[in-house]
């Protein structure tokens, strides 16, 4: 007997065949998806995230501001969702100086995310970061970020590196010379030296105060400062001491002012 093959297949067979088709379609779709994701991810990796226009300067609030922008291009065909980046900066002693955050943000396909960044590094002498003002050192930058690429692939990145820091008042020293004069007026030369190792100029006023061992104000003065990056500063000024005030055993207190909050420099002891 010849069974005609044009008859309708049994229900179970039809169901199995339909499922097989669905399975094949799903598999092909996933393979195409995976291929395009890999291709797009390579495009994103090649475009490489960048920090642009980074610059440092003294801020009005008595800190050093590192500002610029962080750019992440997404030339791929899938979006980057929930992009978030945090960076923390510590000094050579491991003391946390500050942190910046970017996002969370979504970066659509074929677009670029530009995020302004501003990091304020405290440079006050009474804090743990005093050396930042007067000592070159390496700063530890730890960054970590999260994002989801192409809807299904969560990514996280951790980055750790050392960045050199050039102190704006590297090797700062204030010293007094031999007193001179008579007849009730005694002057003493005060010399201030330092090198500007920062990437920005030291521009402003450097005010100093000679304090006796008993913390009496013996006199003071100020220097006008305009030191480009990489230059040495070495200036001397005669200061008239207050009557009967001896600077011996005291100290020289200096502050740098660039229009905003004055920044205290490390005190220098007078022998």
């Amino acid at each position: 007997m010849v069974v005609p093959t044009h008859r309708r297949p049994p229900p179970i067979y039809r169901l199995a065949r339909a499922l097989r088709w669905i399975s094949t379609i799903v598999l092909v779709a996933l393979i195409i998806f995976a291929g395009t994701v890999v291709y797009s991810a390579v495009q994103v990796a090649r475009s490489s995230a960048q920090s642009r226009g980074l610059s440092a300067s003294f801020a009005a609030n008595g800190t050093v501001e590192v500002g610029g922008s962080f750019t992440l291009s997404n030339p791929g065909i899938y979006p980057i969702d929930g992009f978030k980046l945090t960076a923390r900066v510590a000094n050579s002693s491991g003391v946390n100086l500050g942190q910046i955050g970017v996002g969370p943000a979504n970066i659509a396909a074929f677009s670029t995310g530009v995020f302004p960044i501003a990091l304020y590094l405290p440079v006050a002498t009474n804090g743990p970061t005093a050396s930042l003002l007067t000592e070159d050192q390496y700063l530890r930058v730890n960054a970590w970020g999260n994002a989801t690429y192409a809807y299904l692939f969560p990514l996280s990145i951790e980055l750790s590196e050392n960045r050199s820091w050039g102190a704006p008042f590297e090797g700062f020293a204030a010293s007094v010379g031999t007193p001179s004069g008579g007849g009730g007026t005694i002057t003493i030369p005060v010399t201030v030296t330092f090198s500007n190792h920062a990437s920005f100029p030291d521009t402003g006023t450097l005010t100093f105060l000679i304090e006796s061992a008993t913390q009496v104000d013996c006199g003071g003065g100020s220097f006008s400062v305009a030191v480009p990056p990489g230059n040495l500063y070495d200036q001397t000024q005669d200061v008239t001491l207050s009557s009967g005030c001896s600077p011996s055993g005291g100290q020289i207190l200096s502050t740098y002012s660039t229009g905003g909050t004055p920044i205290s420099l490390p005190p220098e002891a007078i022998p």
Binding site: T5, Y13, A16, L19, S23, V26, L27, I157, S160
Partner: protein, 166 residues
């Protein structure tokens, strides 16, 4: 002519269906192994070797990929050869189950953490959701195998009319 005992003569033509010979099926199964070999073993191993040569830690060993690939290839070939028999359904289930276990194994390795050689950056990429979607395929495969087994249990030749029409 029955096919329940195994295989029929070359180009056997029965009532409405025509089953290729065992030799022909083995030949076709062997030819199908070529693209499968590239997809399951050659390409992954090449990619892993490429990464390993550049000091990048591997998410899975080449040995594991090879073993799993051989298992899947073998079951795929056996499935094709046994298509005219009642063993087709169970072998289909086995092949899909092995693929599913392979995916579960790969899932356990997510996320993949990559440390850039010579650098201080590490990247972790999660692919669990994607693999869970891929698991739909062998899961359906198991279901299909069960349906075929049920079909063959009821009427062992009915499927052959449509799988191997004369």
């Amino acid at each position: 002519m029955s096919v329940s005992a195994g295989y029929v003569a070359p180009q056997s033509e029965t009532a409405g269906y025509r089953i290729p010979s065992l030799g022909y099926r083995i030949l076709v199964a062997a030819l199908r192994l070529i693209p499968t070999f590239f997809l399951l073993i050659a390409l992954p191993v090449a990619a892993l070797s490429f990464a390993s040569a550049r000091g990048i830690a591997l998410p899975i060993s080449t040995y594991a990929v090879t073993v799993w690939g051989i298992a899947l290839m073998s079951l795929g070939a056996a499935r094709y050869i046994l298509k005219p028999t009642r063993a087709f359904g169970p072998v289909s289930i086995a092949a899909s189950a092995v693929a599913l276990v392979y995916l579960v194994y790969a899932l356990s390795l997510s996320p993949y953490r990559l440390t850039v050689p010579g650098g201080s950056a590490s990247i972790a990429a999660g692919y669990a959701t994607f693999l869970e979607l891929v698991m739909i395929v062998p899961a359906i495969g198991i279901l299909v195998g069960i349906l075929i087994t049920i079909q063959d249990a009821g009427s062992r030749t009915e499927r052959l009319l449509f799988d191997f029409p004369a």
